[in-house]
Amino acid sequence: MKPRALVIGAGIVGAACAAELARAGFAVVVLEAAHPSAGATACGMGHVVAMDDSEAQLELTRTSRSLWEELLPELPENIEATRAGTLWVAADDEELAAVHAKHAYYLTRGVNAEIHDQHSLRSLEPHLAPDLIGALRVPDDLVVYPPCAAAWLLALSGAELRVGLAVERAEARRVLLHGGVALEGDLVVVAAGEHSLPLVSPALPLHGIKPRKGHLVITDRAPGFAQHQIVELGYLKSAHSHDGSSVAFNLQPRPNGQVLLGSSRQYDRTSDEVEPAMLRRMLERAFRYMPKLRALPAIRAWTGRRAATHDHLPLIGKVGAEGPWLAAGHEGLGITTSLGTARLLSSLIAGTTPPFDPRPFDPQRLCAEASHG
């Protein structure tokens, strides 16, 4: 009989883990409190992107992106996978210098990238403000539609999906449901996004994952308005200020011609309402980069929550010696990094050589962080 794996959470990370564990020979059961993609996976942008805020982040995102790349020929149409590429646009000399630095770094790490000057930028994306002075184009970045991607991974895994089951505690070989009901397995993976740590506390500090709210707006169809996922390089400066909120221009052309606009970042927000002040800032920021956006019809604004850790890296690995496995805290990159996360986790479980250095992702680092205050 196959060994049995219990995966908690049917977001993209749980789905990817289920698919990977099934491939490794487990019979997988996925336990989901609501329904597949009930959490962050339904709210985010689905930009599959190489990111280099840290060496570890680049390893994880680069590996993940090539796993998506391998799947491309198999992905059904409803996942809307496109090789849109990313344009990192520079507004001033400092950001242009960052373009060059990023370019050099990406080339050493085998990530394709090319520099565009003011002129060629205009021909790539005519609606960009004319005063933007250059950009880095990363042609192999992708765009997917996350809820369908998660559903496809779940189906691929052949996992038994049990919905409407909220797990209260996760242990190494057992999960406890409401009312003291227990389910046993040969291993347990917690992939419940921002709700993961309560299932394993106090082995890990509860506040090791903080929700970080983001706003998005989608327009009606405007085919041809933009070709690339376009992100301001100021992102690097604004995105990670731990205090206070920030906005950054981030635009995604959907394959059907809609334009999805992000985004904002705020900690400590309990309400998931759209906040006028944030929405205004985010839109004004977008208009500065693409003035013609003003005329597009907006059909819906919403918010989502990213599960953020103190060092902006996900928690992938075993909780202590006696705990379950954990795959959570993917902040604004979980669609991208779901596949790399699952690959790493499965190699840790099997005891095989990991695809990249696992140490920066070890959940135990939360304990060290907590004791440092």
């Binding site: 329904h35 006028p276 002040a277 205004r280 597009l296 019809p297 819906r300 919403w302």
Partner: protein
Amino acid sequence: MRELACDLLVVGAGPAGIAAACAAAERGKKVLVLDENPGAGGQIWRAGTHAPPRAAEPWLARFRASGAELRSGCAVVEGDAARQTLWAQDAEGLLRTRAESIVLATGARELFLPFPGWTLPGVLGAGGLQALAKSGWPVRGKKIGVAGSGPLLLAVAAWLVEHGAHVAFVAEQAPLGRLARFAASLAFQPRKLAQLAALRWKLRGVPQLFSSWPVRANGRAHIDSVELATDGEPQGFLVDALAVGFGLVPETALAEQLGCALDASGAVAVDAEQRTNVERIYAAGEPTGIGGVENALLQGELAGASAAGDARAAHTFARRAARARRFGRALERAFALREELREMPDDDTIVCRCEDVRWDAARELDSARETKLQTRCGMGPCQGRVCQPALHFLKGGRADRRRPPLLPLTLGELAELAADRTTLEHETSR
């Protein structure tokens, strides 16, 4: 931004809104009524190329004399309940309106249920067809079928007959027995019975079918015939157009955006004086449950009197309104939709017109919410105004919550609105 201030803001100039506006204005309040459509009257009293019905005249006259101000072509796009402020959009752009109290009289929407062929040109909503005809679409001499459920069907059919159409049939999904019991319960309401008799008289000679619903609309570029199942028996009719409507659903979008709680049936919950759970916000008419014109007028008058601080008048109206509400509930039960209607769509039937979603993509999904996420059903420009009530009936649950904007705005307008909301928040927090 332009700003208008008044004592009472009324959203919607249908019967409920008109009654609320009259009641408050006649008690000396400064009243502003906003309606996205041209002219007063709402769904049933709106005049087009045809004159408004006679029943409307006294009310429209009273409204004109009341001193309430009407702004037509003015759609409310957002609200801030804590600051009694609504933002609206008219031909000149965005407008900020503020008031002591607000009455939401936003009416109802038709419920469309998908069946094979329902997206063919010539298949129209019952109310939609009437509105189209009022604005000049010729019905004279046309062969028109009327199908679906509810008292609106008879009213629309009678109207069509009066305007020279040839009504091929009226197909009501509810069983005759259930409706007969309902009619019997009207014995003590002679006016309602008289109305029913008048409708029946106008429709003499028109086949009235019960336990009957459309199985398929046929035609190439336009509907030319329709197949019904009546008591399980197939029946075909040649038609030039088909008017369908499976009843009405309360229009609660603005109420929800303002934070008003809904009851179990999905209508805005109100107390005996039409107050919602949000302070100084009232709801009147169909948003609180489908109940017809008289119900809407009573609730409107009650809300207006209560908002104007006339407790005594409010008290008298409250008793009559409670009776009207009971009638509304009985009506709902009599015309409750039958299970079989869930089997109407086939694999190729489109369930979401904006996003071109076919039923085979949605059939197996568990809930309205998952259907939206997995198929894009309801994600298009109409934001599910058409397909979400249908999906709710077909699958259960809600697909999503209200999110801004209530109506499509340009990103520029959305930013302007957000900026004005922020300004107002700052002004009032100081």
